[in-house]
Point group: D2
């Protein structure tokens, strides 16, 4: 079968591979729609190691073509949404954490696509623990909305969960790419009052407002932290969904004692995380710095889908460039790599 | 000075009293707007004991006319919103609980208006611990919205906090009077997916939908629990904001193992709370039953106001009958006591 | 093979059954040591339905004799501790709750021994999801200690977790049978200050003190709630590990506003749970009533074992009657049914 | 009156000051016993700014000599324990946080002794919000135990609270000075299984074991993180109660995904906090870094005292050098500044 991936570092293209097979608990799917993610781009440039002949992609809606003998709740022909994080639910690590993303072996061990096996930009792809990790696609849910639950919405909302947003919190969201936009939407849905979004791209600014941002701050207008302090004074919660490690400094400047800084930004290529010790009160600030990647599992997706069905949010609005046809995965990927100023996020509809 | 209150049990009217004075930490206010509450009606009928010559009322926006020597952040002339719960913040009890409504002496000891002293339906009224319990009224906030934060919104949102609503929870709200309507709005703002509201009054049904209810269930169409199970199966969270103690039975029938039943209904006149033991798994269900009255303090109100300023919710829409003038408190109170079918909640604007 | 169980209601004895087989994720074990539990007795009298030819028992340490093809971390010959709650970790329900005991189908659906299949009082018994539900028995852990983690310690400590015991809480534990004793030990290990244990049996009283109880209250000395109020005034947390549904009334009388009542008692045969509404503040008390059965999984046991290895607690001390030999399961069971005054808990060592 | 303090940077000695007076909510005390703290030493060297003529000291047990007109629960002659953190409980900030140490104005604004006013090394000292911030000294509590609740135990236990220690967690405590020793004791009392303490001083090592450490690791035996990984593999929780900012690196190396690093170390003189980005998973580790100074208020102390009365812990054992007499404050302070190898912590009994 054919897949689009990383032939070697900085060299992407079409790869020929064996069709995957389903173990007893697994499923094999064909893609209905997929979306490239900035972390696919990152990996293609060697960010996760010098992979060779590795199919990329981890955001997908698909149709099941095969299930293992132990799969109880899914069958070939089912249309499903695939959480980009697919834990092994029989591993001990999963029992320790509510986040459901632990693993016994290594950090991010539940993020298997691309890192541990081929991804979803393929004619067929493999999903472990199908009963636990797949979610049926309801007929009344828009395909673009469904596709965005698999990573962007799950990750943006995870930032909000980690920030423990409470009624009336002021929340600053640094970065309004797709994850930041979802952090804005999630903050509004978690009870934030004022939401200050930091970003400049006009399409993103517009959508940030639609998703619930009350204020927009741009680095073009001066120091971002100074602008926020002038607007609102220090705030309860900061979400970092973009920028560099310097963003942590800015967040520390504007966060109240006892506040939370919740990061979901992948600090691609960063060597050190560093900030002035006095900004963290030389250890005495009671400011919590937390963050990480999103929870796995099908029930996670089912919860996000219920928000879409209740009309609380429509993450599919972020998909502002659509391609049609399996072979267009390449164009979508290259567009993501270029990231033109008016792009929010592209997707590819393969067969719907 | 004049106040409207309870002359004796089942006998309300105008009362002549001494104007209150401010102790070192206190303030004296004149009312700008007030609203009667069903608990005022309840008290007037003897529900909290045989009070005599007690001025009623605990929901108010007012103007400060006097402050004690120890008050730092407020001064005469300030327009303020008054949380209906006004703890003594130097009491030990307050240090134990996040809810900020504990008291060293007695349950509900922080609910002082009417229960421990005269209420707000008066030419002047007293607020203890003014710095902690008052909140400045911002110019850009609608008076009706502000007035509804003092109890209805705080209580409805407290039900949501106790229910620990998470992204994608299905929430059932029993009762769509003002508190139930606010529980609907709060659930939507806390991340609920499907919200099933139980009620029948057309004005309330319409507003429940506007505040985020996705489904309406009426007892007129059959057993409420049966209807909900048919709609959604068992749910994660139930909020009880109306009904009788039998509502707990219905909630137990429809709540999943590990779910939460959060009550903010005052079971006026109930002698016993009882439910079939098997519905609670003979003790093994892991269903939590919780509930109580709302947190106190000015910061609580400031948080709710920030939701209004961010346009997340407008609780003032519930005030569908307006009276003008201090003497109209009587008409508003009597309307609340009669509770005609099209009433949601009345209020009185005294001087604006 | 042979097993001891319920031939019919109120009729226990030895049963001949087929040896179980391991599915792909499962294991088959032979018992090393088992203990009867009051819930086995309860079931034998028809409490969970009119089972016929059902082998009893859910507390065991065993040796693996067979594993399924998908089991990765265990092999025949391994000595293991078996959590009495063995969830299907690929079910959706498990993803919703930290307690890890949810199930998609029914309340207590993860409690499979006896209820859904034969129990552990057999020459061989079956464990589903072996990788997730078994825990290796370390060489340095006493057999009796290990056996007591499977239910008594897990349940007693679950009561403490649900009570959210904090540093310096006063905790009342109603009932000092094995689960109550473990609730005492767990409360001490979770930071409780004063621990008031309610019970009378001398062996249990002695052990309660050793496990951390600071005060003992007996119903023989008068009303239990009155005695506790005289000792300490109202308390932060109550744990119900014995008694009848009336114990809830007593707990409500002695629990502070904003306190928690955590139940792990199985209200065997109770028809109604009922308490005076004013004791719950007519709904306004902010007292939480919670409870249920204990979390499943091998990691749970591993955590409890780590407390034993650190010498924090030795639950095996509760096993004050020892039998030796498989056929003595009958004597142990009958002793549990009779429950003589000096018994805390019996166990049977089969092959060690 | 006389006080021992900081005449100028690096110049301590006796100072003559006016006796403080009590405002309406305040108390004035004379000291019964005091202890110098490493942060007093730090301040004396200019660490909190170039104070002049500032009396040092914040750990004390005292006798009330005067109370303000608004103080309800304390009177002259009462012997009381004084939390080193004394919030203004009528400030808005306090309402936002469970930690009870927020302030509207500045980080650590509730830590008033020495920073905002004279400390406790004086013939008389002032305590704001006496009803909220003082705790009666029970007759059956040892003076040394009581004195250690005011900062060391409160801070060490705060580290444990922030680490959210659960049953069976493995906890590493870096540093076994007084705060680290209390973090060891607190971890054991919060349910930790294995507790690995990092330190070398023999007196401290001995006490760490007595307080519950199961393993001791010393930097003299090689890299601390390597040793811990060899002992236990990665752990759930790290508490930093000593060392330098490099300790954060070591903690990141040994903490599991989804773990917590809880710091209560004051990084005296540190300019930057920095660690290799990959150790934090380039932002994807789900490891939380938190920390800060301890909660204020008398109820906090009352809770800690209840642990002492229940015989769960005796923090007074850390006070291994005793001085007698007010004028010995100077000797105690200078001993603290020198910190000889066998010192754990000195104290001064003034009048008992």
């Amino acid at each position: 079968m054919k897949g689009f991936g990383m032939i070697s570092v900085n060299n992407v293209g079409w790869i020929e591979k064996e069709k995957p097979e389903a173990g007893p608990l697994d499923a094999v799917l064909r893609p209905i729609a997929v979306a490239p993610c900035s972390s696919d781009v990152h990996v293609s440039h060697g960010g996760a190691g010098p992979f060779e002949n590795r199919i990329l992609g981890h955001e997908s809606v698909g149709e099941i073509v095969e299930v293992g003998s132990g799969v109880k709740n899914f069958k070939p022909g089912d249309r499903v949404i695939v959480n980009c994080v697919t834990p092994d639910w029989n591993a001990y690590g999963i029992q320790d954490v509510r986040a459901n993303n632990a693993h016994d072996i290594a950090m991010m061990g539940s993020f298997k696509f691309v890192i541990a096996k081929d991804g979803v930009f393929a004619e067929y792809y493999h999903v472990n623990n199908a009963d636990a990790n797949l979610c049926k696609l309801p007929d009344d849910v828009d395909l673009a909305d469904a596709l965005m639950t698999t990573d962007m919405m799950s990750t943006g909302f995870h930032a909000v969960e980690n920030a423990k947003v409470q009624f009336g919190d002021t929340v600053v969201v640094f970065g309004i790419g797709p994850v930041g936009l979802m952090a804005v939407a999630g903050s509004a849905l978690a009870g934030a009052g004022r939401i200050i979004a930091v970003g400049t791209r006009p399409n993103c600014v517009e959508l940030a407002k639609e998703y619930g941002a009350t204020d927009i701050v741009s680095y073009k207008e001066g120091d971002v932290a100074d602008q926020i302090l002038a607007l609102s004074g220090q705030v309860e919660k900061c979400i970092i969904a973009g920028g560099t490690t310097d963003t942590i400094n800015q967040a520390l400047r504007i966060t109240k004692a006892n506040g939370i800084i919740s990061n979901v930004n992948f600090f691609d290529g960063a060597e050190t995380i560093h900030f002035p010790a006095p900004l963290w009160g030389l250890g005495m600030s009671n400011i919590t710095i937390t963050g990480g990647f999103c929870p796995g599992g099908g029930r996670r997706i089912e919860r996000l889908i219920s928000l879409i069905r209740a009309n609380r949010v429509h993450p599919g609005k972020m998909l502002n460039v659509r391609f049609d046809g399996f072979e267009k995965i390449e164009d979508a990927f290259r567009l993501m790599d270029e990231k033109p100023r008016d792009l929010i996020k592209p997707y590819v509809v393969i067969d719907w």
